[in-house]
């Protein structure tokens, strides 16, 4: 029995670890928040991906407590389905053209893409970065760059910026915050303000059996607090007026 005591003690500790690990909520968040959110709350468990993919997973019963999307469409859809609380806008962003540091495509502005023949990475239609990119190009009168260049379509913005950073694409459309996250390997080229789509991030507490609602609400309060806004601003996000 004496021999068993250390083993039981160890088991007790092991059993306690998951409880401690689950002290924070499970957060399903847009890929562009992959650096900012862990810096804001290290106790949460994160799953980062395209907002539309995460929305589908939550609709299928994924164990999320919080959902943060890169456009209002996904969070609002879950809200209208009764699957999450009323979403709040907590951050904004802008689109930029990202090119590798040595810029082998010689891209000087978004209009350089009119020349065609470049390797261009964009988000797929349906994922927020893909939708925003297409809207931006329509607004600039540059939809034709999607046919005149060699276009690869990526499942989320992290994949677009990785492709550019690795030099597998001459240019990609990403958020300003993604450009900051890969600076050193990439350069960002600003696109005209007058054509910018309004990139709005929204956050809600997921409603499902077993959801940790109090942890979710605490996380949302943390994101929208003064300290949380400071972290978001440091990561390059814009901030909406306080509601």
């Amino acid at each position: 029995m004496r021999r068993l005591i250390p083993l039981l003690a160890t088991l007790a500790v092991v059993a306690a670890v998951p409880a401690a690990a689950h002290a924070g909520p499970t957060v399903y968040a847009a890929a562009s928040l992959r650096d900012a959110f862990p810096a804001l709350d290290g106790s949460a468990t994160y799953s980062f991906a395209g907002s539309n993919t995460l929305q589908t997973q939550i609709e299928r019963g994924a164990p999320a407590d919080v959902f943060a999307s890169a456009s209002p469409a996904e969070a609002q859809a879950l809200f209208h389905e009764g699957r999450c609380s009323r979403p709040v806008t907590f951050a904004t962003n802008i689109l930029v053209v990202l090119v590798p540091r040595d810029n082998p495509g010689g891209i000087r502005s978004v209009y350089s893409l009119r020349g065609g023949g470049k390797r261009l990475a964009i988000g797929t239609a349906g994922v927020p970065i893909g939708n925003y990119t297409r809207l931006l190009l329509r607004r600039l009168g540059l939809s034709s760059v999607l046919t005149s260049n060699i276009v690869s379509q990526e499942k989320d913005v992290a994949s677009v910026s990785a492709k550019v950073a690795l030099g597998s694409a001459d240019a990609g459309f990403v958020y300003h915050t993604d450009a900051l996250a890969t600076r050193g390997r990439t350069r960002e080229i600003r696109v005209p303000k007058w054509a910018q789509p309004a990139v709005r991030y929204q956050l809600c507490a997921v409603k499902r059996d077993g959801a940790d609602t109090s942890a979710a609400q605490a996380f949302i309060r943390k994101v929208t607090s003064t300290a949380g806004r400071r972290v978001l601003a440091r990561s390059g996000f814009g901030l909406p007026p306080r509601g």
Binding site: I94, G141, W194
Partner: protein, 189 residues
């Protein structure tokens, strides 16, 4: 001698002329087809709606109610034409340079700059858009904005008409317009 009163009266005249030129005053005009922009047609609508907002802010600032009413109508029509892609009111903040209102001459110069941008891009749009109803809307706005430009030139003591207008590329016009814009919550990092 250019006076603020004279300039405002000129604006009011332009207002009256423009209302007659753009607003639907007959049943025939009310039956004009609704724009259904195709592909890059949206670019001209987008640029114009933002520039017209700048122009609206300008006329409000100088207190020219008639011209401001017309500009508001331009914005309404362009927003309707853009449909779901239209920018929301709070997506952009117009930041007209304060020093442009320091003297009547500077004030009129800013108005002319805005109207010249609009006339140039609308002319370009009329030659480039695919959808006929979108082209018609741009043409009607062009006629009205050319009147505003002529009135401003007149107020500045210049000939109201200065020959044939030249189409402006969106790229060049956009650079000029961007100097007057702040996007709401634009990241500053």
């Amino acid at each position: 001698m250019l006076t603020r009163g004279g300039f405002l009266r000129a604006g009011a005249v332009a207002g009256a002329a423009g209302v007659g030129g753009l607003l639907p005053v007959t049943a025939a005009r009310a039956r004009l087809p609704a724009p259904t922009p195709v592909a890059d047609d949206a670019a001209f609508l987008q640029f114009t709606v933002i520039a017209e907002r700048g122009s609206l802010a300008y006329y409000r600032r100088i207190g020219s109610k008639a011209a401001a009413r017309q500009k508001a109508e331009h914005v309404r029509r362009l927003t309707a034409a853009l449909g779901a892609d239209a920018p929301a009111t709070d997506d952009f903040a117009i930041a007209l340079p304060a020093r442009a209102f320091a003297t009547p001459t500077a004030t009129i110069a800013l108005g002319m700059r805005l109207e010249a941008l609009l006339v140039g891009v609308l002319l370009s749009g009329v030659t480039s858009t695919v959808d006929g109803a979108t082209r018609l809307l741009l043409g009607r706005l062009l006629a009205n904005d050319a009147q505003h430009l002529a009135d401003l030139r007149h107020a500045a003591g210049q000939p109201a008409a200065q020959g044939l207008a030249v189409p402006l590329e969106l790229e060049a016009a956009g650079t000029e317009l961007d100097r007057l814009l702040k996007t709401t919550n634009y990241p500053t990092a």
